[in-house]
Amino acid sequence: MLGSGILKGLAVTAKNFVGSYHDPARMVTVQYPEERSKLPENYRSFPLLVCEDAADPMGTLRCVACQICEKECPPQCIYIEKSKDKKPDATGKPQLYPTVFAIDTSVCMGCGICAEVCPFDSIKMDQVFEVAATDRFTELLLNREQLAKPNSYYHSIHPTEAAEVDARLAAARLAAEEKAKAAAAAAAAKAAAAATAKPAAPAQPPSAPPTASASSTAPAPGAEAPKSYSRVS
């Protein structure tokens, strides 16, 4: 009959009205500043620089100032200056490090190419989105102190990816250690062979950098956050 559709519709909205008061599943609104929904793991906003030790972020940056990201960045928002000296990196090799590492987040478009191309797993995508500032030329231009975030933070935002990265780095470190050990052994054998000729030729120090394994108190890959968008109250 004419009008039955209208009555049906009115019934639906009336059900909504009543249900909205006692059925929390109906209400999808997240009242943002007080309540936040969990960000999806793959959400990304701006780049960050991973360091190993939160206590000494500048000393333990994974970045080796190779400048690949700077060259790849489509809007060219990354600026890097290389250091003159070398420091041991995550795998223990002596490497350069950036004395200046700046990202202009007012220019950055969040494409994530820098993180993809980084061969040292140093630059990763952050999840911050409340980056409003009153001055675009100073407050949005982040330097390396502002960009550096400890590995534990990286684990907290991208647990799966961070676990993979850590495993890869650990493997690389192990390989490096074994290589170093083999080299040391070879050197020792050599040294033993040529002990009489030349005493005490110092080989590569076999010790791995102590920072990496110590600081990465990351959650296990199994303890991945639930992927639902349930409200965080």
Binding site: M1, L2, G3, I6, G9, L10, V12, T13, A14, N16, F17, G19, S20, Y21, R26, M27, V28, T29, Q31
Partner: protein
């Protein structure tokens, strides 16, 4: 309001007593003026506040109807963290509207552009003058009150035209024409749905119509017009026509904020826009008040034992109920197309309203019937409502079966 009610509880008499007490302070020659001014100020204050809270209630209710929360953040400005369920939202809106820039197009007719919102608010406020808000609580007792109501209401059309034309914008003008076509189309069913009440009561006076609906059958069945077949159907027609007349969804084509740029209000901004908005709500409130008076028993209590509650409280309760229904309809129904809109008015509502008029005439003629003839009376009257409704509904739907959706599911 010439007669001060001696009868009734103190609460029932309170507004009149208060008014008379204030009037006493004025010198005798000015008392008549004070008398009317107090009435005007009371209406402005009560319905101004009512308008403010109608807007927030509408937004909250719409939210709930769509499983949202609605505005709930506006609190007191100087207390941090106070929220008050967002009840101060209308005042924040008012401040925003007042402080916005008032842009008048360079080519606009400045005088008419200014006059249109003023007139539209003035006319919509004038309609409140003849609504009986309670026992003996009517601002102006007029013999032809209903006619006055529609006269004041129809004058708003002029303001719509002025708004559209004075903006000197072709979209505004076209939208004003559309709005006028809608308002004029629906004025006819609106009035035709009201005429049966006049026919049965035998008076154009709103206070007499409200009085005529007093009393109860068996002590609990009120004699409201909505509880008669013709009254119920007239009320339905009135509801639909009132929705269209006050440009509310699903008949909000003149404004259609998601499709047009507010139609004839395109060139209005700031407080002038707010005035149109205000006039729309005043018109809605006045039409709801008229519907309450004509069909829902006015200020009469629904049950005899509830009469201790003052009559104006009953009127306001019914008014809030009507407006709540309008909001509910807005949260439910989709906007009509202009051809559907006029088709509904001319092909469906006008014929049915005319038939309903005959139905009411039959009802008035057979008022003497009693006993088993009462059943005949009710049966014939109900048949006169349901028959044409179904037949016309089916006839108009011929060849327009249930709509099938190609891309949407369920």
């Amino acid at each position: 309001m010439s007669v001060t009610a001696e009868a009734g509880t103190f609460l029932e008499r309170a507004p009149l007593v208060l008014r008379d007490a204030v009037v006493q302070w004025f010198p005798a020659p000015l008392q008549w003026l004070a008398h009317h001014l107090i009435t005007i100020v009371a209406i402005l204050a009560v319905f101004g506040v009512f308008f403010a809270f109608t807007t927030v209630a509408e937004r909250k209710l719409l939210g709930r109807l769509q499983n949202r929360l609605g505005p709930n953040r506006a609190g007191l400005p100087w207390i941090k963290g106070s929220k008050l369920f967002g009840l101060t939202q209308p005042f924040a809106d008012a401040v925003k509207a007042l402080t916005k820039e008032d842009i008048v197009p360079a080519a606009a007719d400045k005088l008419l552009h200014f006059l249109a919102p003023v007139l539209v608010v003035a006319f919509s406020l004038m309609t409140f003058a003849v609504l009986p808000f309670g026992r003996n609580l009517i601002p102006v007792e007029l013999d032809a009150a209903l006619l006055y109501f529609f006269a004041a209401g129809s004058a708003t059309e002029l303001a719509i035209f002025m708004a559209g034309w004075a903006s000197r914008n072709k979209y505004s003008l076209l939208a004003a024409m559309r709005a006028l076509a809608q308002v004029i189309s629906y004025e006819l069913p609106l009035m035709l749905s009201v005429v049966p009440v006049v026919l049965v009561v035998g008076s154009l006076s709103t206070s007499e119509i409200a009085l005529a609906q007093g009393g109860w059958t068996f002590g609990f069945l009120p004699h409201w017009h909505v509880f008669t077949p013709w009254g119920f159907f007239g009320f339905l027609l009135f509801l639909v026509a009132a929705l269209a007349e006050s440009n509310r969804a699903p008949f909000d084509l003149p404004e259609a904020e998601s499709e047009l740029i507010a139609g004839h209000l395109t060139e209005y901004s700031g407080f002038k826009y707010a005035l149109f908005f205000m006039a729309e709500y005043f018109g809605l409130t006045a039409l709801s008040g008229l519907g309450v008076t004509l069909f829902l028993g006015g200020w009469q209590a629904p049950f005899a034992f509830l009469e201790f509650i003052p009559s104006y409280a009953w009127f306001m309760l019914k008014l809030i109920g009507m407006i709540g229904f309008f909001i509910w309809a807005r949260g439910t129904l989709l906007r009509l197309r202009i051809d559907q809109l006029t088709r509904l008015a001319w092909q469906f509502m006008v014929p049915l309203a005319l038939i309903n008029l005959g139905n009411a005439a039959f009802w008035a003629l057979t008022s003497g019937w009693s006993g088993p003839l009462q059943f005949v009376r009710w049966g014939v009257s109900i048949a006169l409502v349901v028959g044409p409704f179904i037949l016309l509904g089916r006839g108009l739907n011929g060849g327009r079966g249930p709509r099938t959706y190609r891309y949407a599911t369920s």
